[in-house]
């Protein structure tokens, strides 16, 4: 508990998490607002409200989580941390827990905020969240952010510099996994096992309109919750590798 308090103080005594959260909120909810405003009233579906949260704002949250670690290396406060808490694993796990929790809460705010603004701008559309699938589609964004933050922190610990970590995370999440689908025949099969593809699979609403679904056309082998578990397992595996490396490396 002490270490969680320490990481909380560290995170909230600098400005970057506030800026990143605000930016994620504006981008995520803002994109939904634009989509809602340019769709005919009554035609907007729930599946269209989460593009901003699950695609655009996610990237900002990944950057925020990576920054929480890389700035520590950038300013060598990681050394001050390891002097105060020589057990590096617990110090870094505490940081991961705090950042992942904040990311998850932020995810819920952005997801439900997006639905809210869509309701305001397109009052005639049916945007009620009633079925289990609909709840998963909206509330699941928070889970996605929390797990995504763990991946971002693991990459941050391994790479130790902001530019590198951010480049890896953005290219991986926004470009690489999508581009692999271009490879004839096997591309789609590989995509079925890529972490962020599975994260998107978890959020899929299963409507009639495939254009609304990220990761559409990929033949996933796992159930939707199975995909989330797979995404989480990859995040934990990456974190374990990062923790082992951090423990052995000279600070």
């Amino acid at each position: 508990m002490t270490l969680l308090a320490v990481e909380r103080i560290k995170l909230f005594s600098t400005r970057s998490p506030y800026w990143c959260s605000a930016l994620a909120l504006v981008l995520g909810v803002g994109l939904t607002a634009i989509i809602a405003a340019s769709t005919d009233n009554g035609q907007l579906s729930l599946g269209a409200t989460q593009f901003g949260s699950s695609q655009l704002a996610l990237s900002v949250v990944l950057v925020m989580a990576a920054l929480a670690v890389t700035t520590e290396y950038r300013f060598s406060t990681i050394r001050a941390t390891f002097l105060a808490v020589p057990n590096r694993t617990s110090a870094l796990v505490a940081k991961t827990v705090v950042v992942a929790f904040i990311a998850a809460v932020l995810g819920e705010i952005i997801a439900f905020g997006s639905v809210g603004i869509a309701k305001v701008l397109s009052p005639a559309s049916d945007l009620a969240i009633t079925t289990g699938d609909e709840w998963r589609h909206v509330a699941g964004v928070g889970l996605l952010y929390g797990i995504g933050a763990v991946i971002a922190i693991a990459v941050g610990i391994l790479v130790r510099q902001t530019a590198g970590a951010v480049a890896i995370l953005l290219v991986w999440n926004m470009l690489l996994e999508g581009l692999i689908g271009i490879i004839p025949k096997v591309g789609v099969k590989i995509q079925a096992w890529l972490p962020f593809m599975n994260a998107n699979h978890f959020l899929q609403l299963g409507g009639d309109n495939p254009a609304e679904q990220a990761g559409a056309g990929v033949d996933f082998k796992l159930s939707q919750w199975g995909s989330l578990g797979y995404f989480a397992a990859i995040a934990v595996a990456l974190l374990v590798v990062a923790l082992i490396v951090a423990k052995r490396r000279d600070a």
């Binding site: 002490t2 270490l3 970057s16 050394r79």
Partner: protein, 303 residues
């Protein structure tokens, strides 16, 4: 007490610290002296568990740093004053450190007061001058009221007032019975601050002794003698086994003898003395002589 036993650190084929053993006793300031690149900082990082020794170990009051429970209450360290987030206030920086080691919030205010930063505590550390950063670093080191303190080149780049403040501060800490290890590449600074010296060059221990002993041994004693009867005194001194050289203005420069001995010999032989003055070699020269080989070797390795 700090105890290094066969401490070794290799980076690939480069040996940064080579089988280094020394002890640092409480109650006095111990200077950790060596030219730039001698391995002082690497050694200090190994003492603090930041770097993993290739071989050997270092104990603080009998335990490795990483096994200390709430280490800030046992060891305080200032390795680099820039180890703070520039957008975090001085107070927030100390606060998270305090919380991490179960220290009361009152300690934060107490150490801010002790280093004179109370006025600027809520300002971001990134805007601090070097002197202020150094004070913040010292405040962090003192936070847990530790028995053991380590400072790496604490006076580097400070103005004379800052240097004097830190020097006095460290001596007071030692006077309170704490173990204080302070590194420097300047013997002249260490001569004023430390009463004990651990001297290293190229990662190897050159000597551990008291500062006075080190200076006496390394500068060598020469005495300048001026007399109208040098023709008589010179051979007498040579007979006693002292080295006699012609000094400036027809004086004699005698090494290996104290001024007392020369005065006695002169009196016993009825020689009139006009001047009898002990000469101190410069500390820098002595230090260069001792560590010179180490530095040259270092340069050759670099080729």
């Amino acid at each position: 007490m700090i105890e290094a036993i066969g401490l070794t650190k290799r980076y690939g084929r480069t040996v940064a610290v080579d089988d280094l053993s020394f002890t640092v006793q409480p109650g006095r300031v111990t200077g950790f002296l060596g030219p730039n690149g001698a391995g002082k900082s690497t050694t200090m990082r190994m003492i603090l568990g930041l770097d993993r020794p290739t071989a050997g170990r270092v104990l603080i009051d009998g335990k490795p740093y990483t096994e200390l429970n709430r280490p800030l209450q046992t060891v305080g360290a200032l390795l680099d004053a820039k180890w703070v987030h520039p957008n975090r206030s001085a107070r927030a920086h100390l606060k998270w450190l305090a919380v991490s080691n179960g220290l009361p919030k009152s300690r934060v205010d107490a150490v801010l007061e002790a280093v004179g930063l109370t006025q600027v505590a809520s300002k971001n550390a990134g805007g601090f001058s070097l002197g202020m950063s150094q004070r913040l670093g010292i405040a962090a080191a003192l936070l847990g009221d530790p028995k053991v303190l380590l400072f790496d080149e604490p006076v580097n780049g400070l103005d004379p007032e800052g240097i004097l403040w830190i020097r006095t501060f460290m001596q007071n800490l030692a006077a309170e019975g704490r173990t204080v290890l302070v590194s420097s590449h300047l013997l002249s600074e260490m001569a004023l601050t430390a009463s004990e010296l651990v001297v290293i060059g190229r990662g190897k221990l050159i000597t551990q002794s008291s500062t006075q002993e080190f200076i006496d041994r390394s500068t060598g004693n020469t005495v300048l003698v001026r007399s109208p009867q040098l023709f008589k005194l010179g051979p007498l001194l040579v007979d006693k086994g002292f080295t006699v050289r012609d000094g400036a203005d027809g004086a004699l420069s005698v090494s290996g003898a104290t001024s007392d001995q020369i005065g006695d010999i002169a009196a016993a032989n009825g020689v009139v003395l006009h001047e009898l003055s002990p000469q101190r070699g410069s500390l820098e020269e002595a230090f260069m002589q001792l560590t010179g080989d180490a530095v040259e070797y270092h340069a050759e390795i670099g080729k």
